[in-house]
Symmetry: C2
DNA sequence: GTCTATAGATTGATAGAC
DNA sequence: GTCTATCAATCTATAGAC
C-alpha cells in the first residue's frame, strides 16, 4: 500500500513538473534533469516510470487532453443535436463556445491546469515532429468535427475559405492560450488582464464575426 | 578581391542555411552542425563570421526583418497620412492590409524568403528568451504603431478589447505564416493551397470583421 | 579565411547496488 | 522503487596549424 502510494506520488510529481517545464521551455529545450529537479525526485525515476522523455510527454498529454477533448466533443455534439431537433443549422457562436469555453475554464482549475493549457497552446508550434504527432493524434478528431459543423453553419462559404478561417481561428486560440497570463507591464496603460469569462466572450465575438464575414 | 567574395559567400551561405534550419527546427533545436552541413561550410566558420549561435540568429533577423518592417511602417504611415488629409480615421482593413500584404508578398521572393516568413511566424512561440528578445526588439515599434492606429480606427472600443483583438490578430498571422505551404494532403478534399493573393484577401476579410465586431 | 582537433558542458538513457 | 555512477552522444565554442 505504501509502495503503491509512493509510486503514484512519484509519477504524479513527475507529471506535474513535466507539465510546467514542457510548457515553459518546449519539448526539446526541457531537460529531464530540470523536470526531476523541480519534481524533487531522482533522475532515473523518469525512465523507470515512463520509459523515455517522449513517453513522458505522451503521458502529460494523455492525462488532461483526453478528458478535455471528450468534454469539448460532447459540447459540440450537443450543439449539433439541439440544432437538428430545432430544424436549423448549428450557430457559429455556439460551435466556437463549445470549444473555447471548456478550454479556458479548464485553465482555472489550478497552476497545473494553467501550465497544461499553455502547453497545448504551444503544441502546434513545437518543432519536434514527435511532439506534433502526439498532439495531433489527440486533436484531429476534434478538428474534423468542428470543420464539419462549421460547414453546416456556413453552407454558402467556399471550402477553401472555410478551411482557412478555421486555421485563422486555431491560430487565435493557440496564441491566446500561450500568452494569457504572461503579459508584462504594458507601456500605455492598457488592461490586458481580463478575467477568463470576459476573455471567452471577447474571443467568441471576434471569431464569430470573422467566420461569418461576407 | 577573391578573399572578400569568398568571405561574403560563406557568410551568405551560412545565413541562408540558418534561415532554413531555424525556421524548420526552432532556435534551440537547430544545431550549428546542421546549419554548416547544409551550407556546405566548416563548422568553425559560424563563430569566425558571427561570433556565436545567438549572434547568427540576430544576423538572420536583421537581414530581412529590418527592411520588411521599414516597408510595413511606411505603409502604415501612408494609411494614417491619407486618412488625416481626407479628414477621417484610418480604416481597419487598410491598417491590416498595410501589415499583411508586404509580409505575405515578401514570402514569394524565393525559398529563402519563404523560410524567413516561417521563422518570423515561429518567433513568438520560441521558448528561448534570447530569441524572443531579439524578435521583439524588431517588432515592438510596429506593434505600438498598429495599436495606436487601430485605436484611432475604433475609438469606441474599450482599451482591453482593443488590446485582445490585436493579440487575436497577431495569433492568426503567426499561425498562418508558420503553416502556409506546409499542409499535407487533407482527408476531405478541401483546397488549402490558395494562392498568396487570395490568402491575403481572406485574412483581411476575416480579421477586419473580427476587429470591427460589435 | 578555412581547416582539424578538441575542450568543456549538457543531454537521454541505463547498469547495478540497496 | 530509489539511488549513485556512468556511458555514449550531442552540443557550442575555441585553439592552433595551414
Amino acid at each position: 500500500m505504501e509502495q503503491i502510494e509512493s509510486k503514484q506520488d512519484t509519477k504524479k510529481l513527475i507529471l506535474d513538473a513535466a507539465e510546467q517545464v514542457f510548457a515553459r521551455e518546449g519539448f526539446h529545450n526541457a531537460s529531464l534533469r530540470t523536470i526531476t529537479g523541480e519534481a524533487g525526485v531522482n533522475l532515473a525515476a523518469v525512465n523507470y516510470h515512463f520509459g523515455s522523455k517522449t513517453a513522458l510527454l505522451e503521458a502529460v498529454f494523455d492525462r488532461h487532453l483526453i478528458p478535455l477533448n471528450r468534454l469539448r466533443k460532447e459540447r459540440l455534439e450537443y450543439v449539433r443535436e439541439v440544432a437538428r431537433e430545432e430544424g436549423h443549422s448549428p450557430r457559429v457562436d455556439d460551435i466556437l463556445r463549445a470549444v473555447i469555453e471548456p478550454t479556458l475554464t479548464f485553465r482555472e482549475a489550478g497552476p497545473g491546469a494553467e501550465a497544461f493549457i499553455t502547453l497545448v497552446g504551444r503544441a502546434l508550434s513545437e518543432p519536434s515532429e514527435t511532439a506534433q504527432q502526439i498532439f495531433m493524434h489527440h486533436m484531429q478528431p476534434l478538428f474534423v468535427l468542428a470543420h464539419e459543423m462549421l460547414k453546416e453553419a456556413l453552407p454558402n462559404l467556399p471550402a477553401s475559405d472555410l478551411f482557412w478561417r478555421l486555421q485563422f481561428a486555431i491560430g487565435t486560440m493557440s496564441h491566446t492560450m500561450r500568452m494569457y497570463g504572461k503579459f508584462l507591464p504594458v507601456p500605455e496603460g492598457v488592461a490586458p488582464d481580463a478575467d477568463t469569462e470576459s476573455l471567452i466572450e471577447m474571443m467568441i465575438r471576434f471569431l464569430t464575426a470573422g467566420m461569418e464575414a461576407a
